[in-house]
Symmetry: C2
Subunit: 127 residues, 2 copies
């Protein structure tokens, strides 16, 4: 575990959610000169090691979070773009149903649900 790697892991843990670019910025604050390439490579490595995982919230931007972090379900509002985190227990009933009926093991910490939050009843919504 080298310095840049530790920094990337720390950044992911500190940020909670972060895109590779956000991680890069965070790391760069402490150790300027760390290349974005290294961030990508390190995130990939950390993911293989099971230390971080990533989820796809909204568009293409993947967000990484530490695996030892609390797992949570994401509610992404298409109106205001806000993201709510909810306890994963909410998914338990669904998860068991899927497992029983379809043999599918849902990765609960990796779920993003799209929709509208209370404040954004309707109207436009860009993702």
């Amino acid at each position: 575990m080298t310095a840049p790697r530790q920094l990337v892991l720390d950044a992911v843990r500190a940020l909670g959610h972060a895109t590779p670019e956000q991680v890069h910025v965070a790391v760069g604050r402490i150790a300027p000169g760390v290349n974005i390439t290294t961030v990508y490579r390190t995130l990939e490595l950390l993911e293989e090691l099971g230390l971080v995982t990533h989820t796809h919230l909204s568009h293409g931007a993947p967000t990484y979070h530490a695996a030892d972090d609390d797992q949570h379900v994401h509610l992404v509002c298409r109106g205001c773009g806000g993201i709510q985190e909810l306890p994963p227990e909410l998914l338990q009933p669904l998860a068991s149903a899927l497992r029983r009926q379809h043999g599918f093991l849902v990765d609960i910490g990796h779920v993003a649900l799209f929709g509208r939050c209370g404040g954004c009843g309707s109207g436009e919504g860009d993702e």
Copy 2:
């Protein structure tokens, strides 16, 4: 509704799920020369009109499907990359709970759940 637009809509309907590029290829089979740009622009337009919607399955590639198509929940297997479609009723209990408890209106046809399908108990998994 011009010819290219009709073709894009037809392609989305015919393909069921498709990335913009797949739509482009499908359209090109019937009307070569239609530009990928037009596909993107048309998809955007059709989405505004409410005729199609898109979901993010796995990585960045968005998949479009016709809005009048049956809504369905996607189960994306991180092992084999396979995609299962399930009836949206599965989400009803969860959706009502979220609505009641969090005022959040889940877009049920827009859900992708990641995990492992029966055949891919464990092992690697590239998204």
